[in-house]
């Protein structure tokens, strides 16, 4: 088991197929002009050229999964009686997430704190997480909207990954981060990497300094609670949001979900699906009461969850990995980094937002 290695570009397919011998491999695959994490099959084209449009979140936390199946059974002896039988879903195959970025891996770390490090751990997520090896490609530089360095990450950040791959001389320098990662480096197509180490380090450092921090230079560690509580501020910064929820579905750290029953005649499944806090019905109660009835309150909760509530609960950790997908793919260009920038501005003045809001209304 090796700590480092080198993989020539032409061996990528062999490497992925070798990983796939006893595991399901999820890799960024080119489909038209989008790159989407898919279960790898040899007919697919892997692309590591830019961060995928989707994060690999679904590999460990599927968009839709069965929690358990139930079946109503008639009791032959007492025909009036119906019994129920439950069967838990325990299908957690070994998997590999290949070619995600450091931000994608950090996304899993954010979810781990909520789903694993608790007295009521999510058994589905936890078991998939344990059975998955994460092989991450370091970024050569930022894409538009990236801000990983501003939220405690970076283009060569290893948190959450088992292996880091850095692009060097027609191939990739591989570093094992964990024992799981070392096992992957033992595959036969992985060559000795020692001579590429210095070059890889240079690439990583160059990439790191190239990522811009969108927050003010003198930004405070925490968001301003005064401005955060200020409804006018939110009404103005999210007025263009169309509540489509794309930001939540493309987010590596968003984990909110719904649970519903899919019913056949006498049997069915209780399933869990991703949900979005940007939707009105997310918190709508049967009585008609909705604690977050307006768009700005829902948006505030999303930003608050990532930059205010979660840090309060988890010792300052931010529930955003700075991947920039919500900025790149927002149909109306809402920029969360800009909004958080205002909130972290030590000169943030709630009164200023009232004035701006009135002015905007007049115009």
């Amino acid at each position: 088991m090796a700590d480092t290695g080198y993989l020539p570009k032409e061996k990528i397919k062999d490497f992925v197929e070798a990983l796939g011998k006893d595991a399901t491999v999820y890799a960024p695959c080119l489909e038209g002009d989008t790159i989407i994490f898919r279960q790898y099959t040899p007919d697919k084209e892997i692309s590591l050229d830019r961060p995928a449009n989707t994060p690999p979140k679904a590999a460990i936390y599927p968009q839709c999964e069965t929690l358990f199946s139930y079946e109503y059974k008639k009791d032959a002896a007492t025909p009036q009686k119906m019994d129920v039988e439950l069967e838990v879903n325990a299908d957690f195959p070994k998997a590999v997430v290949f070619g995600g970025r450091p931000c994608d891996a950090k996304g899993f770390v954010v979810i781990d704190r909520v789903f694993v490090d608790t007295d009521t751990a999510d058994p589905y997520y936890r078991k998939r997480r344990e059975n998955t090896t994460i092989i991450t490609k370091c970024c050569n530089g930022p894409s538009a909207g990236c801000f990983c360095v501003a939220v405690g990450g970076g283009p060569a950040h290893s948190e959450g990954s088992d292996v880091l791959m850095t692009e060097v001389d027609g191939g990739y320098y591989l570093e094992a981060v964990t024992e799981k990662g070392k096992a992957a480096l033992g595959l036969p197509m992985v060559q000795d990497g020692a001579s590429y180490q210095a070059k890889a380090k240079q690439t990583q450092e160059k990439a790191t300094v190239a990522v811009k921090n969108p927050f003010p230079a003198d930004a405070t560690q925490k968001v301003s609670p005064e401005l955060f509580d200020h409804g006018d501020f939110w009404q103005q910064v999210v007025s263009k949001c169309i509540s489509c929820g794309a930001c939540t579905f493309l987010c590596p750290t968003c984990y909110c979900f719904n649970i519903t029953d899919e019913q056949g005649i006498t049997k069915g499944q209780r399933i869990r699906t991703w949900d979005s806090c940007m939707f009105n019905h997310f918190t709508l109660e049967t009585s008609g009461h909705n604690p977050r009835p307006t768009k700005y309150k829902r948006f505030r909760n999303r930003v608050g969850h990532k930059f205010y509530y979660y840090p309060e609960k988890y010792d300052g950790a931010i529930a955003c990995c700075g991947c920039g997908r919500c900025i790149r793919y927002c149909p109306v260009s809402v920029d969360i980094s800009e909004i958080v920038g205002y909130l972290k501005d030590p000169k943030a003045d709630p009164k200023k937002w009232t004035v701006q809001n009135t002015k905007a209304a007049k115009d």
Partner: protein, 278 residues
């Protein structure tokens, strides 16, 4: 949680009795099918459970029988949406799922030696009932117990047998009220917050616990503030749309607190410290 390692997996249970409390509220006496699990089931007053009708879904209800009476778990359900309508359609002997206990509970140890003031409206008496019965089963630990309870009309009052019993007890001061005049009703008339104002209970050495419709809670809290009750002496138990019940699914949060796991019981002081809702 009912002994299951998987927190999403309900324990199968049988509804042993259905009681019609009001025209739209039914109570269900529930017993876990596994006798060992029923025997070992422990919970605290104020904790909630998720009831499942397989094929329809799950909803959260407080366990409103006290831990001092463990022959069955009592849940009261107001018919409102899909799951509650399905629950209203079940019969004695039917199978349901139970995930319990969930959430925190009333700090009944800290309330020992104090006067207790319960203020409830409608189905909001359910969570209070757990604590009232628990305190009546440990009556010597608490000083004066006052219950102000109201509903729209007399038929809408829940737990009529309990009310009858409490009314007769000399160690409980029960004040019943309905919103408007009603044929045959000879007790108080008026909204719960108004009756609270008229009764004007003393705040000193008293803990107030309130639950009811949001609008009632709002005015009760105002009324208690006028009576000088400090925010740390006022408790309420909250409702929110819930799915997981274990603090993961993300919909019942108030700031960084989750109603399902950090609640449902909060002091007014705790609620005031959470981010604004405006």
């Amino acid at each position: 949680m009912t002994g299951n390692e998987n927190p999403y997996l309900p324990e199968l249970a049988t509804v042993t009795k259905v009681i019609e409390e009001t025209p739209n509220i039914k109570s269900f006496q529930v017993v876990l099918n596994d006798p060992e699990k029923m025997k070992n089931f422990r919970f605290e007053p104020g904790q909630v459970g998720q009831l499942s009708i397989f094929g329809v879904g799950e909803s959260t209800f407080v366990i409103n029988s006290p831990p001092t009476r463990m022959e069955y778990l009592n849940f009261s359900v107001m018919k409102a949406g899909e799951v509650t309508a399905a629950l209203h359609g079940i019969y004695e002997g039917d199978q349901i799922g139970v995930r319990a206990p969930l959430g925190n509970w009333f700090p009944y140890e800290d309330m020992k030696g104090k006067n207790i003031l319960f203020i409830g409206g409608g189905i909001g008496l359910a969570p209070l009932r757990t604590l009232i019965l628990y305190m009546l089963d440990n009556r010597a630990d608490y000083k004066d117990i006052t219950i102000i309870y109201g509903s729209r009309t007399p038929p809408d009052l829940c737990y009529k047998d309990d009310l009858k019993e409490w009314e007769q007890r000399s160690d409980v001061n029960l004040i019943l009220t309905v919103d408007n005049e009603y044929p045959g009703w000879e007790k108080r008339i008026g909204f719960v917050p108004t009756v609270l104002k008229e009764e004007a209970p003393k705040w000193f050495e008293t803990i107030a616990i309130t639950c009811g419709p949001p609008i009632m809670i709002k005015f009760v809290l105002e009324g208690l503030a006028q009576l000088n009750f400090p925010p740390e002496s006022i408790l309420t138990t909250l409702e929110a749309r819930m799915k997981c019940g274990i603090g993961l699914c993300g919909r019942c949060n108030l700031g960084h607190k989750y109603v399902c796991k950090d609640g449902p019981v909060f002091t007014l002081k705790q609620l005031k410290e959470l981010p604004s809702d405006e």
